[in-house]
Amino acid sequence: MIQLLYFARLREALGTEGESLSWPGPDSVSALKKLLAARGGAWQEQFADNSRLRAAVNQQLVADSAVVQQGDEVAFFPPVTGG
């Protein structure tokens, strides 16, 4: 299992702030994005070809090539706008 978190505009578009997901990995963040996009609808819109989407694994910003392991916390969010 992995723990997924969604923030800000993405959280609103998906209608959920997170979930536990059964994960066949280790595999890449891009593989996880493909898995989520395959749900269709808003998931397809948000996770397929969305170059603005950011990902963090265990609270560290990562590239799409980063590996997601069992037990990891993976967050997806739009570019940050604090300060």
Partner: protein, 149 residues
Amino acid sequence: MAIRVQEQDFDMGAEITQLRLNHPQAGAVVSFTGQVRDLNDGNAVSSLTLEHYPGMTEKSLAAIVEQAKQRWPLFDALVIHRIGTLPPLAQIVLVAVASAHRGDAFAACEFIMDYLKTEAPFWKKEATPDGAHWLDSRECDQAARDRWQ
């Protein structure tokens, strides 16, 4: 070094005075305060809501301050960032640094703000008379961060 992410307001004067008095060797204290504007891109702003990623936010800010410490000789640094819904003129963020001389203090304060704006997981949603919308990140913020590399 202190990092605080909180809903409640802060007393900028008291925070900076404390930082200053804690470091008799510091000849320079530089600070930045960000506040909610009442106008953004020509739209009246009635409030700004700040969402964040608890846990990662604090780690990210601590890592940014650590990078600044490695680049400049700092005696101390303070970052306070508010979350929740804030009205115009509310303080959002305070960054203050203490160093022996002003050059290092100015640079470190600006570095911390530039990295905070592009790496710390905060998101702003603006309420206007026409409804609420999430703010987009700005190219100029990324350019401001990239010039430190």
